[in-house]
């Protein structure tokens, strides 16, 4: 899967996408879902929760691993992906689309600029693959 160029990344494999209304959608990368294997459970952040960039805000769980998801930006959670409750495999099948985890109203837009772009992230992911 090619990494969408409009996304920004943390090296811990989270992505962030700025929507037209200024909110930020977050999820985990295709590389990350591949490494975890079939997801069986996702613990999404509660709406209304305030996060600082780098806070563990969700947990993704497969049968062999469980991993914290860190928020790429600071802000308030304004939506979470309900569908993951019944169908966590959405992250496996569509990590950058239907497998989104939460939407955040960012409190510090400058943080986005510090994130990795798709090309830089791809390099990190490729290095880990070996």
């Amino acid at each position: 899967m090619t990494t969408p160029a409009d996304l920004k990344f943390l090296k811990s494999h989270e992505w962030a996408r700025t929507e037209s209304d200024g909110t930020v959608t977050i999820g985990i990368s295709d590389h990350a879902q591949n490494a975890l294997g079939d997801l069986v459970f996702v613990d999404v952040p509660e709406v209304g929760k305030t996060l600082a960039a780098g806070d563990a805000c969700a947990v993704v769980e497969s049968v062999k691993a469980a991993s914290d998801v860190y928020s790429p930006v600071s802000g308030e959670v304004i939506a979470n992906n309900d569908a993951l409750g019944a169908t966590p495999e959405l992250i496996n099948t569509d990590p950058y689309g239907a497998g989104w985890i939460a939407r955040i109203r960012p409190s510090n837009a400058a943080e986005l600029a510090k994130l990795l772009d798709a090309a830089a992230y791809d390099q990190i992911a490729a290095a880990e693959g070996h």
Binding site: V40, F41, D43, E46, E61, S62, V63, K64, A65, A66, D68
Partner: protein, 452 residues
Amino acid sequence: MPFIPHTDADVRDMLATIGVPNIDALFDEIPSSLRCGVLACIPEALTEMDVGRLMQERAAQDGRPLNFIGAGAYEHHIPAAVWSIVSRGEFYSAYTPYQAEASQGTLQLLYEYQTMIASLTGMQVANASLYDGASAVAEAALMAVRAHRRSTSARILMPTTLNPVYRQVTRAIAGNQSLNFEMLPYVPGSGTIDATALDKWKGQDVTALVIQQPNFFGQLEDVDALTDWAHANGALVIAVVNPTSLALLKPPGEWGQKGVDIVVGEGQPLGVPLAGGGPYIGFMTTRMEHVRQMPGRIVGRTLDLDGKPGFTLTLQAREQHIRRSKATSNICTNQGLLVTAATIYLSLVGPEGLERVAAASQARTRELVAALTKVRGVRAVFNGPRFHEAVLTLDRPVGPVLEALAVQGIVGGYSLAEHYPELGNALLVCATETRNSNDIARYAAALASLLS
């Protein structure tokens, strides 16, 4: 050599294959300065025959006194079939069922156990066991803090009617993680806690209320009112229960309007011998919504490659071997063999047998209390309903009386002097279905002669 099968020829061949001159050469990576000498304090080896004689002597020294203590460990009849099956090598000498295909016996048994204990407590899911009842309360307190996301106080209300050692163990295990334990006093006449006493915490952030039923005194708490108070005030409820009692008493899943959130207890009464204090079983059940916060192993039923049903450990991502420092607990080995005993015990007694055990124990304790309170200077302390255990007071200090009874081969009860000094010369007594009228008469006569 005991338990080592090697012949001299084996050793020679093996050393040659490895390419070393002798066994000691295999330890050449250990710095010689660290090597220890002869273990002078270890005695010479005993043959099986001699160790058998030694243990028989030690056992004879202790004898088999007539027991009237409960206080968290109960002497029930254990059908002969229980330990005859538990002692089969296939259960006794297997390990944690990591290789599911080679462990279907243990796994299916654990699934059956989870079903039984969940139903007995009226909850949806159970784990495959914790160490014992006391440590299970500690795990429940930690679990409540994880499960109750809106509560930030980590405040756990513990009644003084909760087994005092359970309170100590909970502090020792959970206290390192900044939990706040606050005490809830009992009402002197009834020996139970009172929902109105809880109003002190009304409107405050309380994470969980612990309720033991029957409580440490054997008295029955007003569990419906207490559970409803907790839920109305935003707290979770942790029930601590005796599994035998649940044949007669309302299961925690039905307490109050909504039922409790976490249930734990000591599973020893279900086919596990007293054995001087362990090994026993901690059990834990909860609602499905909290299953991922539950510590310990859990077995699930699934399908194999051919679509046939089979059993496997599941939800392992909660556990230490995957989650490491973020695991729900550090527990790995639990009490598998004792769970085997409990499952076989519950299968043998069935719903009716367990009711009989509970009712007969209740009747025997009633008979015991009636007989002992006829003795001059002995009286029952609390009013109100109770289950197979009661607090009595004597007209003199309990310790010397218990010692004098022990000389006559009677273990007469558990002194409450250390943990409940306010009760005076108080004694907690219990009779299960294993005590008959002669036993009770013998105790009453011995006590009467001591107190006369």
